[in-house]
């Protein structure tokens, strides 16, 4: 016996039912619901990542300057860059900066993780504090170093003079090699907590009985590190390394605050040079070309990361 509406006729009720069940089944169908749910995220990413990405490639092929959108000029910007000694120095700097900082971040980060893993008390007290260099705004952390490297007020100079290591204040950021060394130091300072805390999380997931068994079998601590710790943290380590390489290779903030690419354009990386040329000098075509040059390298890092994560899933 079917329910009858006192006010609506049978046809109207059926129509309402039909509509309700259509809406219901559409929302219940995974194919439709799935797409509806990802559309807000996709729309924003398409508009502000995919579109500027394609547009950036186009800009790099034009002579766009100032407010004018420019004409297509083919690869002239890239050829010009290749002949430019500042750009070539920038390429060298970007790789040096990425690789040297990476070595230190892995080594110090691993030490930090092993130290914090040994005592729960120390870990709880220090974990949040030691994360500070990583989580505070990069440019504000860099400000402290900006003063620590200052040619007049540096306490490092003060200490070295008192220790008799140098005669007068050191111009840390005034000499190309020293300035690069300073940038590397500050990048390591900022990146170590990321390595340390991520590796610590991985270490804590290693079952303790592996070490107990190894100790019973007479393995030395180096053997335990080499044959238990390293393989167990490897999945996390590779991800952290690749992420760090992507971020360091494309870094901007530390260099912008500490040297602005100076002295005499000797410490530029891709991003700071692109900023100086593309927005400072308003040569958008050339600036975009500098950014685009980063892309193949970043794509290789990203592909490796994707490949690694896929492999872990299997």
């Amino acid at each position: 016996m079917e329910w009858q509406s006192p006010t609506l006729g049978r046809a109207e009720v059926n129509e309402l039912r039909r509509r309700a069940s259509l809406r219901h089944s559409l929302m219940e169908r995974e194919a439709v619901l799935g797409w509806i749910l990802v559309i807000p995220a996709l729309a924003l990413l398409l508009l502000f990542i995919a579109y500027p990405f394609v547009y950036g490639i186009w800009l790099s092929l034009t002579d766009s300057q100032g407010g004018n959108l420019g004409r297509f000029v083919g690869l002239i910007n890239f050829i010009g860059l290749w002949k430019d000694s500042i750009f070539r120095q920038t390429v060298v700097n970007s790789f040096t900066y990425t690789i040297i900082t990476l070595i230190f971040k892995i080594a110090i980060g691993m030490v930090m993780a092993l130290l914090l893993n040994r005592s729960a008390v120390v870990r709880n007290v220090l974990r949040a504090a030691l994360l500070l260099p990583w989580i505070v705004p990069t440019v504000l952390g860099a400000l402290a170093w900006f003063m620590l490297f200052d040619s007049t007020f540096s306490p490092l100079s003060w200490t070295m003079i008192r220790l008799g290591l140098v005669k007068e204040n050191v111009a840390f950021l005034g000499n190309p090699h020293l300035a690069m060394g300073c940038l590397i130091l500050v990048n390591v300072w900022r990146g170590v907590p990321f390595f340390g805390i991520s590796l610590l999380a991985a270490l804590q997931a290693v079952p303790a009985d592996l070490y107990e068994a190894a100790t019973v079998d007479g393995a030395s601590s180096w053997q335990q590190f080499r044959n238990i710790t390293v393989p167990m943290v490897e999945p996390v380590l590779v991800v952290v390394v690749l992420l760090s390489m992507i971020w360091t290779f494309s870094d901007f903030q530390l260099i912008y605050v500490l040297t602005q690419g100076g002295p005499a354009d000797s410490t530029h990386v891709f991003a700071t040079l692109a900023y100086q040329v593309g927005l400072g000098a308003a040569q958008m075509g050339v600036g975009a070309a500098i950014s685009v040059t980063m892309f193949p390298v970043l794509a290789i890092f990203a592909a490796l990361l994707l490949w690694w994560l896929r492999r872990q899933e299997i």
Binding site: E30, A31, L33, G34, W35, L37, V38, P40, A41, L42, L44, L45, F48, P52, Y55, G56, L59, V111, M112, L115, L126, A128, L130, L131, L132, P133, I135, V136, P137, T138, V139, L140, L143, A144, W145, L148, F153, P155, P193, I197, S198, A202, P235, V240, I246, W247, F252, Y256, A271, G278, L279, M284, S291, V292, M294, F295, L298, F301, A302, L306
Partner: protein
């Protein structure tokens, strides 16, 4: 295995102390300089590591004579708005990628993950042109709409991993009991995923608070700047650098994220390693 006391000091406490000094000394330095009166600072014979007569003069200058408070307001507003926008987009996307089978799901998931790897420095020049063309330059919308480009990929990645850890059966029970798919997501899955949502929210907030490049490029007028950009661009002034208020700004600008980490360190670390550990 018992270590002798000396051995333990040498192999444990000294390395820990060195590491802590290396990582924390810059913050100590900012604190000292921010309360050091100028005569002490400029007397280069004095020991620079300490302060004799601390003063709050630099903070007073920072809060009353510069736009620092306005920058704080701008940053807070932008950080909250972009965090909410990102969560609004990431929660459904994360749920769909973790639970629903739809054509192209794999491709969508991979694309969103890849955008996580696209650094802002790759896009900023074309984006500056686009933001100008949309008439967004120098408005909050420029940042509220562009920050989600680096927040959504991460938040979605994290939430997808989190939704996957919740047993499917819980949701299936709700659907059998007559709930719709969407209802089950909101009433069953979302509360269970709360820790994941908190992680994603904290991450998004700190990343927005700390963002520098887009704010540097899109916000040109002094009153629209964020804390990191205003501090770097307006407080470092040629030859006469106001070290005290500069260091004070560095510290105050770091306080919100530092407080968050002290309260939510576990969530933060979970977020830091979610992708890495879960794969």
């Amino acid at each position: 295995m018992y270590e002798s006391v000396t051995n333990r000091i040498l192999r444990y406490w000294i390395p820990i102390a060195l590491l802590s000094v290396f990582l924390l000394f810059p913050f100590y330095w900012m604190t000292v300089i921010s309360v050091k009166p100028n005569p002490e600072l400029f007397n280069l014979k004095l020991d620079p590591y300490f302060v004799i007569h601390p003063t709050l003069e630099h903070y007073r200058y920072l809060l009353t004579r510069t736009s620092f408070l306005r920058w704080t307001l701008n940053t807070t507003l932008v950080a909250f708005a972009s965090t909410f926008l990102s969560l609004f987009a990431s929660i459904p996307a994360g749920y769909a990628l973790a639970r629903l089978r739809f054509p192209g799901a794999g491709l969508v998931g991979t694309s969103i993950f890849l955008t996580y790897l696209v650094p802002p420095t790759l896009l900023f020049i074309p984006l500056a042109v686009i933001v100008n063309r949309f008439g967004l330059a120098n408005s909050y919308w420029a940042l509220i709409l562009t920050y989600p480009t680096f927040l959504i990929p991460f938040a979605t990645w994290l939430l997808t991993a989190y939704f996957r850890t919740i047993p499917k059966e819980l949701e299936e029970c709700a659907v059998i009991d007559g709930s719709s798919r969407l209802g089950a997501m909101c009433r069953i899955m979302l509360p269970l995923a709360a820790p994941g949502v908190v992680s994603a929210g904290i991450f998004s907030f700190t990343l927005s608070w700390n963002e520098f490049l887009y704010a540097l490029i899109f916000m040109s007028s002094t009153v629209m700047k964020t804390v990191p950009v205003g501090t770097i661009n307006e407080l470092i002034k040629g030859d006469v650098t106001f070290w005290g208020s500069l260091m004070g700004a560095g510290l105050l600008g770091s306080v919100p994220v530092a407080v968050m980490i002290f309260f939510f360190a576990d969530y933060y670390v979970q977020g830091l390693t979610a992708g890495a550990v879960k794969g």
